[in-house]
């Protein structure tokens, strides 16, 4: 609907479009591209950094970061696989991101798994080995500590050093100055809403001709 939503133009020179419709900015830093999988119709914005080079030690081919379809990695985002020292050996672990996942500008992601239909706001920090289930949402400026599990259909928010107000108007949260935590359940239609939004975003994202 061109009369309802304005296109989001990008410069044709800046983006590389793949056969499967992925659009990757030339201004993004894609390290170790052989270890990165993009599902198709996924947009990597300018200034994003994707560290496919941080692979598990050892021989052979390893997928470090995989993204599904209709994903958006916002401007200046950092995707970095999680790491830990297990039995004396330091290692990186793969990061898997599902379909219809939008990550807002300036966020840093070190999650282990992100499900489908997930929205992550701007300027978030998603700590190491975080698991984000389907249809979850992380509000802007949220700091999610390492190893957090975000259940399906839930809204997370909160950042240390910032006052917090629960979005459900009934309860002004007492948990001020707190890291990312559960705020409320999302509506049952979240899957359809997010799927429609991510598809619409992709169709609005057009080269300027």
């Amino acid at each position: 609907m061109t009369s309802m939503e304005s296109p989001l133009y990008y410069s044709r020179q800046e983006f590389i479009e793949t056969d499967t419709g992925n659009k990757v900015s030339r201004r993004a830093t894609i390290a170790g591209p052989q270890n990165i999988i993009l599902g198709g119709k996924t947009i990597i914005s300018s200034g994003a950094i994707i560290r496919g080079d941080l692979r598990r030690s050892g021989p052979g081919h390893a997928v470090v970061i995989s993204l599904g379809r209709y994903c958006l990695i916002g401007e200046g985002c950092v995707l970095r696989p999680p790491y830990k020292t297990y039995r004396g050996a330091f290692n990186y672990y793969p990061m898997k991101i599902g379909d219809h996942v939008h990550v807002g500008a300036g966020s840093v992601i070190e999650a282990a798994t992100i499900g489908n239909w997930v929205e992550i706001g701007k300027n978030c920090v998603i700590g190491k080995f975080t698991i984000i289930k389907d249809c979850a949402r992380v509000a802007d400026n949220t700091v999610v500590p390492p190893n957090t599990v975000i259940p399906a259909m839930s809204l997370f928010g909160g950042s240390p050093g910032k006052h917090l107000y629960s979005s459900s108007s009934s309860s002004c949260s007492f948990v001020s100055f707190s890291v990312g935590h559960f705020i409320e359940d999302l509506p049952e239609t979240t899957q359809e809403v997010v799927e429609a939004e991510t598809k619409q975003y992709y169709s609005r994202f057009q080269p300027l001709s």
Partner: protein, 512 residues
């Protein structure tokens, strides 16, 4: 930004929603995707009016699905990290900590309270006066349904006092009730701890606390208010006395229609599944309406194009308000209606008459100025059609026309032609594409207009009733020879955004 919210009558008998400028309007209008639809009642339902039941519990930390029986038996689960408490074994932490908890003053006090009241409860539940009064109270309710009646009965059974003090018991004849109340008179309770000595336990402001504060070396030794807030009992001020809290379990919920108790939402058993066994949401029944102001859309496109040319970061959000609406001017707006049904629908729109007196009521000083309607809305009043939803269009790609047969293709192309021909007119049907119809409206702002442009709009749509044989025995249609079509009407509130008062300069508009 412009928005459209949908009205939920919440079992109210009044068919008209509150005027858009009343604060109460906010409570009865919701985004379409948050609403439910009851097929039996043929009505919209919202989260405020549905009845909610827990259909399963899970731990938000480890996502373990806790059986309902153990939720009742074992209370809850623990987070035991980073505290100086050692456990003998890694499982059943709650049971291991129970010993500590049981000796806490609040637990002991609670036990004492229970000991004191339990014999009284038992005695009164056996007495005939209360048990006979209860069912009568339950049945006198206006719209008593089985669920609330059962809940009321259970509550009254467990706490006999409640049964006697329900508002349904007429206050006119208190004599008999009072006598029975006297019979169950409750003896005085003596607390275990003398409240005047409570300060010796800390945080009561007594000598103990003063002493602790004197020896304080670091601020972190004092537990913050948030950390102590959760306890029902006054606790020690010291951080080292804090113990892990139980993490409340999360639940998956089923939702029922408040009127007919039919299930509207029933999630799958698995905690992390996002699928539903039953999901009757309004978005699958009512046309979705989005509203946009073409001059704003154009400007946003322009800004985005400029940014792409300079290959700069497209400015977002904060620029959206730049193309605001100025008082004294007339603006066109577009509404896109999307048909979720597999049959075509006929839609008729009408603007609810504004009660200006009501709208301006309570604004005090501004009352004089808003006496006249601050804006006038014109929208197409003739009915128009929206094509059915078809699976082929789910493939969102615009250029993807391979799935369509010639007829559909032609329809789509002609729809586009119509768009170009209709460019000149503002009010009317502008564009038809797939299962979306775009109509144009116009808003004329008064010279003294201010505030938000919000108006209530009634949407009535006629659809082909697809089941001539109503489902299993619930024959609600008045006659067997029911008409082929049915009409459903609902209210929306359309918000076109803020008006920029005339005397104020437009915000940095020259910069663009």
């Amino acid at each position: 930004m412009a928005s459209v919210l949908y009205h939920c009558p919440c079992l109210s008998t009044s068919s008209t929603p509150p005027p858009p400028h009343l604060p109460s309007s906010k409570n009865s209008f919701h985004p379409l995707h948050r609403l439910f639809f009851c097929e039996e009642c043929d009505a919209v339902r919202c989260n405020r009016c549905v009845s909610v039941e827990v259909s399963g519990y899970y731990c938000p930390n480890c996502l373990f699905e806790v059986p309902s029986a153990s939720v009742r038996a074992e209370k809850n689960r623990w987070d035991s990290s980073e505290v100086g408490i050692t456990f003998e074994k890694p499982t059943g932490l709650a049971a291991q900590l129970q010993k500590l908890e049981d000796s806490a003053p609040d637990a002991l006090e609670f036990d004492r309270l229970k000991e004191h009241f339990e014999p009284i409860l038992r005695a009164s539940s056996l007495s005939p006066s209360s048990s006979s009064a209860l069912p009568a109270a339950g049945h006198s309710r206006h719209h008593s349904n089985p669920i609330t009646a059962a809940a009321a009965a259970a509550l009254a059974r467990d706490i006999p006092g409640v049964g006697k003090h329900t508002p349904h018991t007429r206050s006119g004849r208190p004599s008999g009730k009072d006598r029975s109340a006297n019979k169950d008179e409750i003896p005085e309770y003596k607390s275990r701890v003398d409240i005047s000595r409570a300060s010796t336990y800390g945080s009561g402001g007594g000598d103990v606390d003063v002493d602790f504060m004197r020896r304080l070396e670091s601020l972190s030794e004092v537990a913050s208010l948030e950390q102590r807030w959760m306890y029902s009992w006054s606790t020690s001020l010291e951080t080292r006395d804090l113990r892990p809290l139980r993490i409340p379990l999360h639940s998956k919920q089923s939702k029922r229609c408040p009127a007919c108790t039919h299930i509207l939402i029933k999630p799958e058993q698995k905690a992390q599944s996002v699928r539903y066994k039953i999901k009757l949401v309004a978005a699958n029944y009512l046309p979705a309406i989005t509203v946009a102001l073409p001059h704003q859309v154009e400007m946003l496109g322009h800004i985005s194009a400029e940014a792409a040319k300079r290959s700069a970061k497209a400015p977002q959000d904060d620029d959206r308000d730049r193309s605001g609406l100025q008082a004294g001017k007339t603006y066109p707006f577009h509404m896109a209606l999307t048909n979720p049904l597999y049959d075509p629908i006929q839609v008729r729109l009408s603007v609810q008459r504004m009660h200006v007196a009501a709208a301006s009521h309570g604004e005090g000083s501004a009352k004089e100025k808003t006496r006249r309607p601050p804006f006038a809305i014109s929208i197409p009043t003739a009915p128009f059609s929206i094509a059915p939803f078809a699976e082929a269009w789910e493939y969102d790609d615009d250029e993807d026309m391979f799935g369509l047969d010639d007829e559909e293709l032609e329809a789509r192309l002609s729809g586009r032609e119509k768009d170009t021909r209709a460019k000149s007119k503002t009010v009317g049907v502008l564009e038809k594409k797939a299962n979306v119809t775009v109509v144009g409206g116009e808003v004329a702002l008064g010279k003294e207009a201010h505030g938000e442009i919000k108006f209530n709009m009634l949407v009535a749509y006629t659809y082909r009733s697809d089941d001539p044989t109503p489902s299993d025995g619930h024959d609600v249609s008045p006659s067997k020879k029911a008409p082929e079509t049915k009409t459903f009407a609902f209210y929306t509130v359309v918000n076109l955004g803020m008006i920029i008062p005339k005397n104020e300069p437009r915000l940095e508009v020259d910069e663009i």
